[in-house]
């Protein structure tokens, strides 16, 4: 029993330490973020941020588009098989449009970016720690948070919402293709119905989620990298941990945001 309590206590302290590290890093990065901004910040950091935006955003575009198309088809087909029984096939349009804008677009994007870029952040920063590059930055009078972390944060904050809009478009397009082949509904008319069914607050809710997911992915990826101790093995562990933790936290955050929007929308 005492052993069990000891294990529970140790695990609690470990998790509290992790949350504490997340908070400390968040404040440090927010302070350092100014350096990565265009015009007011350091042009080298801004250039690094743009480079990261291309890596996180542009290079992930085909993958996210394909994921969204597949998910759009799945959602439309699953919805159609049920809704057809009630003669309400046209509700597939609402299901796909609202489902993607509010939920699936940001979530699918976050999962893709977490797997691609969250792991890359952890691996890159972890390797820099192992090879003493982070120490080298410090002794060269650079602030690692400003130099390494801030461009990644800024890039994620810009790229993930943009990618999530792209995911929305491709997901909804997939729904349109399904409707065209199953009911001969023209694509223009389909998009007309889509625009009627989604509201501005649906789009905003999706974008708020995308920004939150971007913060989680960049935050967890960078922290896991910075916590690397030891050799290449530890880098591997931190990479896995970054993907697992950020995906888990993204889904938890999604549930919280969805609950908030649900209850706020009801009132």
């Amino acid at each position: 029993m005492a052993n069990l309590l000891e294990i529970a206590g140790r695990e609690t302290l470990r998790q509290l330490d992790y949350v504490g590290s997340l908070n400390i890093q968040l404040w440090a990065t927010l302070r350092g973020m100014r350096a990565a901004l265009p015009l007011v910040g350091n042009r080298h950091r801004w250039r690094a941020a743009v480079h990261q935006m291309l890596e996180i955003g542009v290079e992930a575009l085909p993958m996210v588009a394909l994921l969204a198309m597949c998910s759009g088809f799945i959602l439309a087909m699953q919805g159609a098989s049920e809704l057809r029984r009630f003669g309400a096939l046209h509700f597939v349009i609402d299901l796909v449009a609202v489902g993607f804008t509010r939920e699936l677009g940001p979530l699918l994007t976050a999962i893709a970016v977490s797997g691609r870029s969250g792991s890359a952040f952890a691996a890159e920063i972890g390797t820099m720690k192992v090879t003493e590059e982070i120490d080298a930055l410090k002794v060269m009078a650079f602030e690692p948070v400003e130099f390494v972390l801030a461009p990644k944060y800024l890039a994620a904050l810009v790229a993930v919402p943009c990618l999530s809009i792209v995911a929305n478009l491709f997901g909804i397009l997939a729904g349109g293709l399904f409707m065209f082949f199953s009911t001969r509904l023209g694509l223009l008319l389909y998009f007309h119905y889509v625009l009627n069914s989604i509201q501005l607050r649906d789009v905003l809710a999706g974008l708020v989620k995308a920004v939150a997911f971007a913060t989680i992915i960049a935050h967890v990826g960078c922290l896991e990298g910075l916590r690397v101790r030891g050799g290449p093995e530890a880098v591997g562990r931190s990479t896995t941990s970054a993907v697992v933790r950020s995906t888990f936290l993204v889904i938890v955050a999604d549930a919280i945001f969805t609950a908030i929007f649900y209850f706020v929308g009801k009132t």
Binding site: H44, D135, M140, A141
Partner: protein, 267 residues
């Protein structure tokens, strides 16, 4: 005049004392070699001098600034007068050799790009790598990486050069070339150098003064001849390469005998 002054330095990791009340002065314009076996505390002392860790007590003054008590801004100011080449070279793998050397010049000075290019070429030429500027660190041999790290350390014309195990893992010819490079830098630029090593031939070739560490304390400090003449048993053991704890054959034999007996007794 001492450039670096270490006073009563105590460093502990998890209650284990790694440096125990250490005092050391590094004189201007001299090469001081920090000599000691593995686990003697050389790297720990180096990390303290570079301000990468905080001591439990004691002080380290670099050019009159106590880096254990100064502000981060003052610490960065001190760091700009240091040039550091790490044991692993710690070159930034994503940057070419030229960009590695140019990094501090671009970010800490207002020099024109053409001037920076010229300085970079000069620094690479000093270490014999002028023709390799476009290469990335992963395309270089071990010796070239170490020399590139020295070139990067020299970028801002530092008053103090810190070299961590410059000849570790290199063949004798390349190691000797590095020794000559260090001597050349001292004679040409009147640089103050702190070199951490456990390579005896290298230490006695380049040192003006040698400080010998053992178990977190300084055993001896002096010129090459003073260290050679030192009769402290540990100094003698290190210089004469006498094994510290040879395997005790009778004890090993009895241990093996007992092990075999217990294995045979098992059903």
């Amino acid at each position: 005049m001492s450039m670096i002054s270490v006073r009563d330095l105590v460093v502990e990791y998890d209650g284990r004392r790694v440096l125990d009340g250490l005092n050391l002065d590094i004189e201007a314009g001299q090469i001081t070699v920090l000599l000691g076996g593995s686990g003697s505390g050389k790297s720990t002392l180096l990390r303290q001098i570079l301000g990468l860790e905080r001591p439990k007590s004691g002080s380290i003054s670099i050019k009159g600034t106590d880096i254990t008590a100064c502000s981060p801004a003052d610490l960065n100011k001190v760091r700009r007068s240091l040039g550091v080449a790490f044991q692993s070279a710690a070159l930034f793998n994503s940057l070419s050799l030229e960009d590695n050397v140019a990094l501090t010049l671009r970010e800490h000075t207002a020099l024109a790009p053409s001037v920076i290019d010229l300085i970079v070429w000069l620094k690479l030429a000093v270490v014999g790598l002028a023709d390799f500027g476009k290469l990335h660190p992963q395309e270089l041999s071990g010796g070239m990486k170490k020399r590139a790290a020295v070139a990067r350390a020299l970028a801002l014309d530092p008053e103090i050069l810190v070299l961590d195990e410059p000849s570790a893992g290199l063949d004798p010819i390349v190691a000797a070339e590095l020794d000559e490079l260090i001597l050349f830098l001292k004679e040409t630029f009147q640089i103050t150098a702190l070199v951490v090593t456990h390579e005896l031939p290298s230490a006695f070739r380049i040192a003006d003064r040698i400080a010998m560490l053992f178990d977190g304390s300084l055993l001896a400090v002096g010129t090459k001849d003073e260290i050679r003449a030192n009769q402290h048993p540990r100094v003698r053991q290190f210089l004469d390469r006498v094994p510290g704890s040879p395997v005790h054959m009778p004890a090993l034999a009895s241990y093996l005998e007992r092990y075999v007996q217990t294995q045979e007794a098992k059903p």
